[in-house]
């Protein structure tokens, strides 16, 4: 069974205090790993796609990396507006379920001014 586990469940940072969020996964065959941001009362907003181990993607203060077992979302010098829940999701390569995303429970990030 495909599984996605995110840690920590919640993270409080001071503004400017860099850190990383973890997403570990177990799948039969990985087609892609996706990071989303979700603000309260809103739908998830797409951030990154990673396809293969060693791949990295960057956007402003965020950088996503991928290994064969996990992905990290690094947040450099965060600002209060980075506060949100960050969701990780995987898509498998083929067969039943290959159209679906399997999401983790998310990490709720709070950045304190």
């Amino acid at each position: 069974e495909d599984q996605v586990t995110q840690s920590p469940e919640a993270l409080r940072l001071q503004e400017g205090e860099s850190s990383s969020l973890n997403c570990s996964y177990t799948v039969s065959g990985l087609r892609g790993l996706f990071w989303y941001r979700q603000d309260p009362g809103k739908g998830p907003e797409f951030l990154f796609t990673l396809y293969s181990a060693g791949e990295e993607k960057e956007k402003e203060r965020l950088k996503a990396t991928l290994t064969k077992k996990e992905s990290f979302l690094h947040i450099t010098a965060p600002k209060p507006e980075d506060s949100a829940t960050y969701l990780c999701a995987v898509q498998i390569t083929s067969g039943a379920g290959s159209y679906q995303l399997t999401f983790g429970k998310g990490t709720k990030l709070s950045v304190i001014p």
Binding site: V4, G43, F46, Y99
Partner: protein, 114 residues
């Protein structure tokens, strides 16, 4: 509007009632997905449409749930004989591409079953 539109944004109903939730995807997006998100959980897949047909409905929890997309655009998720356990936020997403994880989500319809 440019984004995925979902109505109603909030729906309160009584146990046993019938409910319809509507999704208007981004114009030109052929792929449409329904997900369900309970409090403190990540979204859970329900059904995927490519055009008018349901390509994957394996996430529908039971036969009380049904979804249609008759003209390949607007979709309706229908829930019969609602139960308290159906309470959740129902999210719709669309994409111009098939079999992609890069989805555009709406803000969701929050369903509360009393």
């Amino acid at each position: 509007g440019a984004g995925v539109s979902q109505t109603p944004s909030n729906k309160v109903t009584e146990k046993g009632k019938y409910v319809e939730l509507r999704c208007d995807p981004i114009s030109g997006h052929t792929a449409l997905y329904w997900y369900r998100q309970s409090l403190g959980q990540g979204p859970e897949f329900l059904i995927y449409f490519q055009g008018t047909g349901a390509a994957d409905d394996s996430g529908l929890p039971n036969d009380r749930f049904f979804a249609v997309r008759p003209e390949g655009s607007v979709s309706t998720l229908k829930i019969q004989r609602t139960e308290r356990g159906d309470s959740a936020v129902y999210l719709c997403a669309s994409s111009p591409l098939q079999r992609t994880g890069e989805l555009f989500f709406g803000e969701g319809s929050r369903l509360t079953v009393l």
